[in-house]
Symmetry: C2
C-alpha cells in the first residue's frame, strides 16, 4: 500500500481531520456543527479531503428522523507507530488514524546501549507488528525518549541517563529507516499528551503530569499545549532539592528528589531495609529474587508490611512536597501521577495529596484533583501517536 503523502491544504481541512480523529466517524452535518463554516464551504473541503484519500465515505448512517447521512471517516488504512523508549524497557504500538491501539509490544531494553542498538530493536518490533498483519506500512511515527529533546530538530540534548544519545539525529535517522515522517519528544511530555488525548486529562487545558519511574519528570501543559522550555528540559524536576544536605545524587548535588524517591531509589531503600532486618516480607523477597523493585515494595505494602508502607509514605511525602511548590507556582487544574510506581497506588497518592493540600495555597488547591493516570503503560505510545498526528494533521 502506498503510504499517506497528502497533507491538509488549509486550516479548515486540518481542523476537520482532528475532529474526525478525536470524534470518530461523523456526517457532514455533524461536522458542520463543530466547525465555524457554512454547509456549502464545508462540503467543498470534505470533497477535497476525499480526493486526497485522507478521509473516506463508507456507507450510510442510520436515519435520525430524516435523510440518512453519509459516514465520513479517516482512511481506515492509515497507521501510526508510537514508540516509548524508557530507561529499561521500550513500548511500541500501532494505531489507526483515530489513535486506537491495534497492537502493542513491550520489551526489556538498556537505553545506555546507545541509539544504534536501540533502534535496531525498535525497528524489528515495528516489523513484527507489520508482519502480524496490523499494518502494511506506517504513515508517521512518534518517538519518546527519556531525556531532553531539541524539539524542532528531534535531537536529544545532554540526556543524563543516556549520554551516548547526545546529538544523535533521531528524527532524521528514523524517518529514513521507516520511510515516513517522524516526531521526537521527551517521554514525559508524551505521557502528558496521552492522558490529555484519551485519559484523565481530557478537556483540561492546564495540568501537570508527574511520571515516577526509574527517574522523575513532569509534563507541563499550559493553555492546551505542552511547554517544553527554551532548551527542551522543562519538567526536569528530578533534581530539585527535596532534602537540604540529603542523600548524594548522581548529578553531583545532594538531596535531589530523585535521590530520595524514584523507582531506583525505592528499590535501593527496600534492599537496605531488608538487609537491616527491618522487614521479613522484603527480606524473603530479596532472598527469592536476589533483588527488589517497586513491584516488590507494592506487594509487601499490600500484604500489610509496615516498613514497605513507611517507604512509600515517606517517598510520597518527598514528591508531594515538591509538587506542592509546583502547584503554587503553576496553579494547574489537575495533577496526574503516572509511571512505573503507580503500582504503589493509593498509599502513594494519599501521601502526595496530604502534602499538597497542606502546603499549597487554598486558592490553588481548592478544586484541584490529584489522580493516578488512566492509561498506564499505553499513555506514552498514545501520546507518541498523537504527537505525529498533530504534526501531520496541520497545514503543510
Amino acid at each position: 500500500m502506498r503510504r499517506m503523502t497528502a497533507r491538509p491544504a488549509n486550516a479548515h481541512q486540518a481542523k476537520l481531520l482532528r475532529l474526525l480523529r478525536d470524534g470518530g466517524p461523523n456526517s457532514r452535518a455533524q461536522l458542520g456543527d463543530q466547525i465555524d463554516l457554512s454547509r456549502s464551504k464545508l462540503a467543498v473541503e470534505v470533497d477535497r479531503l476525499l480526493e486526497t484519500g485522507l478521509v473516506v465515505a463508507d456507507g450510510l448512517a442510520a436515519s435520525r428522523g430524516g435523510r440518512r447521512s453519509h459516514n465520513i471517516r479517516l482512511n481506515p488504512g492509515l497507521r501510526f507507530l508510537g514508540v516509548d523508549i524508557g530507561a529499561t524497557s521500550v513500548d511500541v504500538a500501532v494505531t489507526n488514524a483515530e489513535l486506537e491501539i491495534l497492537g502493542h509490544l513491550n520489551q526489556p531494553l538498556d537505553v545506555r546501549e546507545g541509539p544504534v542498538a536501540v533502534f535496531e530493536q525498535v525497528l524489528s518490533m515495528a516489523a513484527k507488528l507489520r508482519a502480524s498483519g496490523l499494518a502494511e506500512g506506517y504513515d508517521g511515527a512518534g518517538i519518546g525518549v527519556p531525556g531532553p529533546v531539541r524539539f524542532p530538530e528531534g535531537v536529544p540534548v545532554a540526556p543524563p541517563i543516556m549520554p551516548g544519545w547526545d546529538g544523535f539525529p533521531v528524527r532524521e535517522a528514523l524517518s529514513q529507516e521507516l520511510g515516513c515522517p517522524v516526531m521526537v519528544d521527551n517521554d514525559v511530555n508524551l505521557m502528558a499528551m496521552g492522558e490529555q488525548h484519551a485519559g484523565v486529562a481530557r478537556s483540561v487545558g492546564d495540568f501537570l503530569c508527574v511520571k515516577i519511574g526509574t527517574g522523575i519528570g513532569c509534563g507541563i501543559v499550559a493553555g492546551g499545549d505542552v511547554h517544553r522550555g527554551v532548551t527542551g528540559s522543562a519538567g526536569d524536576i528530578g533534581h530539585i532539592q527535596a532534602v537540604p544536605d540529603g542523600r548524594p545524587c548522581a548529578c553531583g548535588n545532594r538531596g535531589c528528589l530523585e535521590a530520595h524517591f524514584s523507582g531506583a531509589a525505592l528499590a535501593r531503600d527496600a534492599v537496605e531495609a531488608a538487609q537491616q532486618g527491618l522487614s521479613d516480607e522484603l527480606a524473603s523477597r530479596l532472598a527469592a529474587n536476589g533483588t527488589l523493585t517497586a513491584v516488590d515494595v507494592a506487594a509487601a505494602a499490600a500484604a500489610g508490611d509496615a516498613t514497605a508502607l513507611d517507604l512509600i509514605r515517606e517517598g510520597g511525602n518527598r514528591v508531594g512536597q515538591v509538587i506542592a511548590g509546583l502547584v503554587s507556582f503553576f496553579n494547574p487544574g489537575l495533577v496526574v501521577i503516572g509511571g512505573g510506581v503507580t503500582g504503589l497506588g493509593h498509599n502513594l497518592l494519599a501521601a502526595i495529596r496530604t502534602q499538597v493540600y497542606r502546603q499549597s495555597l487554598p486558592l490553588a488547591t481548592g478544586n484541584l484533583p490529584i489522580v493516578l493516570g488512566e492509561l498506564g503503560p499505553t499513555a506514552g505510545v498514545i501520546g507518541a501517536a498523537r504527537l505525529i498526528s498533530d504534526h501531520l494533521f496541520s497545514p503543510a
Copy 2:
C-alpha cells in the same frame, strides 16, 4: 475631547495598531514590510483606521531616495492610565498610545483600607494628572493589584494581604468611574509585561519575573503570553516551603519563602540583629528612625556592614534555592529580579545566581541570564498600560 470608541475591525487592523505601538510612526511601505499583506490591501486597512481616528497621518518623512512617505502614527491624543497598587504604595501614570510615560505619581497607601478608600485615592491621582494638562480623558486603564485575580472578570479572589477586596468588582467599578475600558491583573504579571514590553525581557518568549517587595511573587511568561493559572494564582511562590520546619508564616505553615525573605522579613531580621547588638550600623539607623526597611539594610551593606551583608546573602540564598527549582521545572530563557528590594542590588543577585547555577541542571542554566529589572518602579504601570492596549488593540 471625545474618547476613543473605535476598535480594530479585524486582525489586520489589530496587528497594524500593535506595530505602530511598538515601533512608533511608520510609513505605509514600512508597515508593509512587517505584515503579510499586499500593498493594496494594506492601504485599504490603513485608510479605514484613519477614518476611525485611531491613527493619523501627520506630515511627510524625509526621503530615502525617492518619493517621501506619509508618517502614519497612533492618534497622539490617546491616553492610557496605568495603575499599580502595592501593599504600601500606589503608582499611577499616564501614557500615550505608544506606552510612553507622560506623567507619573507615587503615593503611600495602605491596601488594607479596602477598595473604596483606595480607589478614591487612585481616582484623585488620575484627576490630578488630567488637571496638569497631560490628558483630557482616558481611553483605557490597566490596574494591578497585589493578589490573585479572576482575570476575565477583573475581580480579586481570596487575596491574602487584602482580604477586604475579595470579590470586589474592580473592573466594573473603575470602568464606570473612569468612563473607559478597564483590565485588571496581578501586579507581578504586570511587572513581567512591562519588562517584556520595554525592559530586559524584550524579545524573550519564555521567562520568569520574580518580584520581591513586601511579599514575593513571580510572573510567568510562556510562549510570549502571561500564564495565570486556572484560578489566577499562578506565580504565588511566597508560600513555597524554603526551610523545613522554619519560621512560622502568616499563612499557617512554617518555613515559607516569604517568612524567611521578603521586604517585610528583611526589615524584621534587621531590627532583631540591631537589638541583639550584632550591628552598630543597623542599631544607629534603628535609633534614628525608630524602624528599619530594606533601604536601611542596603545602605548598611554598602557601608560595609557585615551583618547587613549576611542578611542579604542569606536571603538571596533562600530565594535562589526556590528559583533554582523553578528554573529546573520551567526552563526559562531569562530570569528577571525586580521589586522593592532591587536596591539590594548585586549582593542579592550574586547570591541568587550562585544558588541557581549550582543547583539547576547545566542544560537549563547553560545560557540563562539572571538580571535585575530595567524599569524599576515604572515596570508595573507600563505593564498596566500594555495590558489595556493589548485588549483595545484586538478585534472587537
